[in-house]
Subunit: 352 residues, 2 copies
DNA sequence: CTGAAAGCGCTAACAT
DNA sequence: ATGTTAGCGCTTTCAG
């Protein structure tokens, strides 16, 4: 084989004056010429087609098809100052968030919702200082029209401080510190109430909770649990997990069993935590749900894959995503847009 | 409040001639003026700083800092014809791929590897016809410099037909049909051999396989299994799963137990499949690994979270990602770049 | 080594 | 309704 990289250029004689032979698609002028109209008219067709005669419109459309024209986004952005792209910024202080099954759902749904508006999604990670700076520079450099901010932990947010500036931003989940940026979230507190009520209705008496207050929404879930239980939410029944992970769930369950061996139900603040709890309960020889009922939160994929399958609270993440995009687009258009809270739903399976 | 959108322009008298007051960062000219050099020199500093006197360099750098200058990527792209962005195209015919824990790893690692080169990652989905067209138009519209193609199923690939064109593309996993595009993959076949050998060494006699030949790498894993077992790879010991999912694994295991109740080991072509098999084995009252040993493939997160934890084959996905990016960058620079195969590793845990 | 000048392809006034 | 024109901010010859 000759080389394996690129087929040789198809221009046998291209020598000295080898201009940029690269991607050299048809321009708006080519279309205009072919359609027998001016460049301005073509531009009008491209942008809404108002004030264009049907005849011209048809001619232009045909010419575009014939030439296989595509707008040059750079040229357009240069003048409009819009990029038609938004950043999906993921701050994952502990590398965890990325493994969260919920994250995939958000990412997919946001991508789709944006695609419907012909806006592209640029994924950016912000796990350390350097990356944070990179993101900041990038965002305020005008490379994107707005940002979808996904952060597990609510603290950090140097990003948010930027976001508070002039770049339209919407967060997933209520950011801590009550920064002024709009957010979209599930009704964590009410969701937690639903689960706790369910456990009570099942006749459970000593209901423990594995929480994770430092994660967005975590504090609310804890509050919901307390709302329902009141003083029955004994201090020893509540343990904190450092993150929404399987191992953290197992570890928390171990502590719970140690301090409260008489426990007959556990509400974990996420499905991953619940799955970890399940593993630990089995190890400890407790039957689920007979000895101990287990409730999760999220209704992520893993809720269906544990054994027994998890009873959990469904977060409408597709809806959250669509709302985030909707709010962001309004913000970009300088329209007013408030935060939104979306309802949750109890999903009963085998574990409780 | 006055408006809530944009703080009023700081020009008390700007009236009729209210220019676009939007994002109006410092330009290369502002920097040039402040540094007392020409616009050309600033540009040179921006691009490699060759042929620039130390004095000029310093002045420019100071001016850039003072003004908080950031290049306008659109303006740059307009002339260079590069976008400094690549598309991460995900074809997920069955919505599954996105839930694959491996995918997250790839996405994260690719994003990071690209960020190191100041290239941004644009995520695109290609699950149906419309989206495929969208991706095609987008990619060949010159919006990206190249594409990272992640597809579970190997067939479709109208995308690939584009990729074969002039847009630099690298696939994850060997694409079917032997299209000419370079790819990066793990040594699936050898990995499968490693696992099968391990099971044999454990004294297992009737080793079944849950395969998924239509998924990239799936056929190779099946071959590896057969390489080791030879005629002991009875037909009835091999079942096909429709996808790499938990439920497919459970279902396949059920069939396997039905046709070959005497089975004493199973090698599943992915961890998800193995996890499903585990669930089914427990349901059937078979102990793992005592009655039946179970081997997975991927060493994804779930391998650590099943009970018992999975013995599996580690795919070096971070390495795969970095190599994909490396190959793609070479391709973009029109340098030669061949496909690459990366070694796998046996990870022994509890299930086998 | 550096400045000047010519566009890149497009949109948005501004005239018709 | 349509053509004309002036840039958007940058890189890249081309002269010095």
């Amino acid at each position: 084989m000759s080389d394996g990289t690129t087929p040789d250029a198809p221009h046998p004689k291209s020598r000295g004056a080898a201009r940029r032979a690269m991607r050299r698609g048809p321009t708006i002028d080519d279309v205009a010429e072919l359609a027998g109209v001016s460049r301005g008219t073509v531009s009008r067709v491209l942008n809404g087609a108002r004030y264009v005669s049907p005849a011209a419109l048809k001619a232009v459309e045909r010419a575009m098809r014939q030439t296989g024209y595509t707008v040059n986004q750079s040229a357009r952005s240069l003048v409009t100052k819009r990029s038609d792209a938004v950043a999906f910024v993921l701050s994952e202080p502990q590398e965890r968030l990325f493994e969260d099954p919920n994250f995939s759902v958000l990412l997919r749904a946001c991508t789709q919702a944006l695609a419907a508006h012909d806006i592209s999604l640029i994924l950016m990670l912000e796990s350390d200082e350097d990356e944070r700076d990179r993101v900041l520079r990038y965002v305020r450099g005008g490379h994107v029209d707005g940002v979808l901010l996904i952060s597990a932990h609510s603290g950090d947010s140097l990003i948010a401080s930027l976001a508070r500036g002039d770049v339209p931003t919407v967060a997933c989940g209520k950011p801590a510190g009550d920064i002024g940026i709009p957010y979209v979230a599930a009704e964590d507190r009410e969701g937690a109430r639903q689960m706790t009520r369910h456990l009570v209705e099942q006749g459970r008496k000593r209901i423990g909770m594995i929480g994770c207050p430092q994660i967005a929404g975590g504090a609310e879930r804890l509050e919901g649990y307390r709302d329902v239980l009141g003083r029955r939410a004994l201090r020893r029944l509540v343990v904190d997990a450092p993150s929404y992970s399987h191992s953290a769930g197992a570890e928390a369950m171990r502590r719970l069993l140690a301090t409260s061996p008489d426990i007959d139900a556990v509400f974990a603040a996420s499905d991953s935590l619940a799955a970890g709890a399940l593993t630990e309960l089995r190890r400890a020889g407790r039957g689920v749900p007979d000895d101990v009922a287990v409730g999760g939160f999220d209704d992520s994929r893993i809720a269906r894959e544990t054994d027994p399958a998890l009873t959990t609270i469904r977060q409408p993440l597709e809806l959250v995503s669509r709302n985030m995009v909707d709010v962001l687009l309004r913000l970009i258009r300088r329209e007013p847009a408030a935060s939104r809270l979306l309802p949750t739903e109890l999903v009963v399976r085998e574990s409780a």
